[in-house]
Symmetry: C2
Subunit: 505 residues, 2 copies
Amino acid sequence: MEKNLERIKDSSLHDLVVQAENAASWIRDGMTLGLSGFTRAGDAKAVPFALVERAKKEKFKVNIFTGASLGSDLDKVLSEAGIINKRLPFQADATMRKNINAGNHLFVDQHLSHTAEMIRNGVLPQIDFAIVEAVSITADGMIIPTTSVGNSLAFVTHAKNIIVEINVDQSEQLEGLHDLYEPAEQGRRLPIPLTKADDRIGTVGMPVDTDKIRGIVFTKYMDSPSPIVPPDHETEEMAQHLISFLREEVHAGRLSNNLAPLQAGIGSVANAVLHGLIDSEFEDLQVYSEVLQDSVFELIDAGKVNFASACSITLSEEMMKQVYGNLEKYRDKLVLRPQEITNHPEIIRRLGLISINTALEFDIYGNVNSTHVSGTKMMNGIGGSGDFARNAKLAIFVTKSIAKGGNISSIVPFVAHVDHTEHDVDVVVTEQGYADLRGLAPRERAQLIINNCVHPMYKAQLRQYFEEALTRGGQTPHVLEKAFSFHTNLAKNGTMLVEEVKSYV
Amino acid sequence: MEKNLERIKDSSLHDLVVQAENAASWIRDGMTLGLSGFTRAGDAKAVPFALVERAKKEKFKVNIFTGASLGSDLDKVLSEAGIINKRLPFQADATMRKNINAGNHLFVDQHLSHTAEMIRNGVLPQIDFAIVEAVSITADGMIIPTTSVGNSLAFVTHAKNIIVEINVDQSEQLEGLHDLYEPAEQGRRLPIPLTKADDRIGTVGMPVDTDKIRGIVFTKYMDSPSPIVPPDHETEEMAQHLISFLREEVHAGRLSNNLAPLQAGIGSVANAVLHGLIDSEFEDLQVYSEVLQDSVFELIDAGKVNFASACSITLSEEMMKQVYGNLEKYRDKLVLRPQEITNHPEIIRRLGLISINTALEFDIYGNVNSTHVSGTKMMNGIGGSGDFARNAKLAIFVTKSIAKGGNISSIVPFVAHVDHTEHDVDVVVTEQGYADLRGLAPRERAQLIINNCVHPMYKAQLRQYFEEALTRGGQTPHVLEKAFSFHTNLAKNGTMLVEEVKSYV
């Protein structure tokens, strides 16, 4: 305990140390909680777990706002405990997903750069308790986050009360890794002075009004590791297509050999595609992303990436050991910022990012569905993909051309939910090839997508749709009564494939 | 002629004066032209008309890039002449619309802030000839635009050749009205230093390499006036609902009585809604928009608006006389900027705009279709609505709840084309009422939209759809096979209304 207290450099706060159960007891029915945590990293753990314990004896509901998805099965147990009224802005848990889709609790799927703005503007309910994981509290009252920043700065700044979970198993060496900057309110705001991925524009910790700190809890829960999904044949092919495209851009003089700052979405496909750059000719790369996955550290180790900025570090167990065991090696190559800054349209447009995100499905005109299976069931959420795709220099979406052994085509006539419109999608990539949609009219896009990206087993079927649509005319030809036929076939027959179309040329 | 030459203050350029026919003769098959002009204002007219004349004797095709729609029936005659290969980023002409939808020429429907970026990045073909209307050329070789700026700065900066149309009937008093600023290339760009609607950050004219000026043509064609569509009962009701909403925001402390800088889309509905502010309690308003229509000048005259920034001024004939006849009165209250700056995500997010745009239709979850009739036929284009809605503090969409005497409901189960996703739409307004969708999950949004915005004749039908969808479950419940039933009913029966549903509660 004595040693733990050394993590609270402002000794006037030592009296605030409590057990997680105590802190959890302050939370009332109807409150709104702002939890640290972004894609399994840096989540407040002890107090939420204690809250779940409380729910075994007591009925209450709270709104849970976070950075993104939580680790340690927290989204699962919170959801199972039945204490969630509304959850935002992102989740990625199977149980929570089930409860959301069953209508058991509400989920607001938001652009990850928007939440902090909506808290600051008073559009979302005020946070009653911000509960944030920290490495330490500095002598001047700054909270040093751990492995993610997420929305924590907005939470602590605008919350009525703060509970700090100091994770004594997280290295104090993390101090100095973060760069905390909060824009002023809209209309009184100056330009955000960040012009390069490695600029530092803020403070190393979150400056807070220490009077709002109600309690400090010591914890030892480590972050959940990411499951390792190694690159497979298809993701390797996708990486090669992406590299071919980038090579063409360099050749055309639109990119240099250092490319432009890279963003890659969470998940195994984007991770594998990014990993593919390791054997490319591109060098002195920079990353300006949301989450740093294993691939970024592999690229740093290979000398390909010289700097990486993000709001969270989400690693496999093995990579965790390597990175956190050798922080000295990586510290000057990394910065962690609030997700409002990593995903800010101002910065994304200014830096001219190359943005690589995963699509669930896309359609023949280039609209992308990132979230809803068959248009209705939430998968995870849009995350930052919209922040990036809208404002990036190159908005690239990747997906395998088929799923479920070929019963699903990832390219359909009309996506059953639109997260990214035709206006925002520059390039689509599958293991079949890529389609560069920039400057193309819808009829041109459809031809290119069907030719380059669709799996051979679905080409005839999509061509048939497109040709029938052409007979109807229009800027974006469609046969509305058949636009969702791929999806309704899947629901009825277990496959999108229509046998008799196979012979269609 | 002598007098005309006074408009070219750099006398070394006097030799470049030619007839429009001469200038038009330089244009070759396959070239790309960048024409000034944004929503009927400030379009190059003489050379394009001469080009149309040439097409009577000669076969050729060109790409036509502009700021937005052209006036003087130029889009009509260019389209009829059959000389267009590709047109971007916006149009609003009935004949061109017909040709686009028939597939007779290609149309790329772009966010209006994106075109300049894509020209600078070399993604679009290089402009062979920029043809821009001007008031004059200064002694130091700057081109002073007339009533719009649009994409002209990007066109003249990046074009191989420039043709200037000096409109001697446009007052030289327009000099000083413009503020020309071009961001550096992405990655080397500094923050755009604009922090208030009335900031000036650039030059009064377009600085050009005068060696690129191939010809100068004197013209007298005035801009086409806007048709006057006076406010009607429904638009007045929409304005009142909008004012109620804004009043609530002020009451909740989220806006002050000066609101926030206003943007309003082109068209009679947005114009009428903005006009409605004239009798409101709000004052000292500022406008940071794309196009200034009559309503903005009415608000200036009424002392409600004290400054207006835009990239184009598009007025009725009567208002043209008043404004251009009294420029002294308005000059210090106006600035015209490139559309890349008026529509820039960096500025829109920084200023925290209130953005009001017209929807063609929206769905029960808040997705908006701005462009495609029945999902296929292009109306005009997305224009700046996406630039604004994505990044504004308040993204508001307005539309009458029904059209064609009630045969069309503007609220449908699933929009047949998505231009603005549920993530980007804050408030929807019809003459029935408004729905504030911020922070709501899809199931909450559907209830609110059906209750507040749908016309009574369609409430039962939409409730029935939603309730059937709820039996299927999901975050965003849908019955995919019936999602477009409103549209297919319209195609089949001439109405979206299903008689037997009328009794459904």
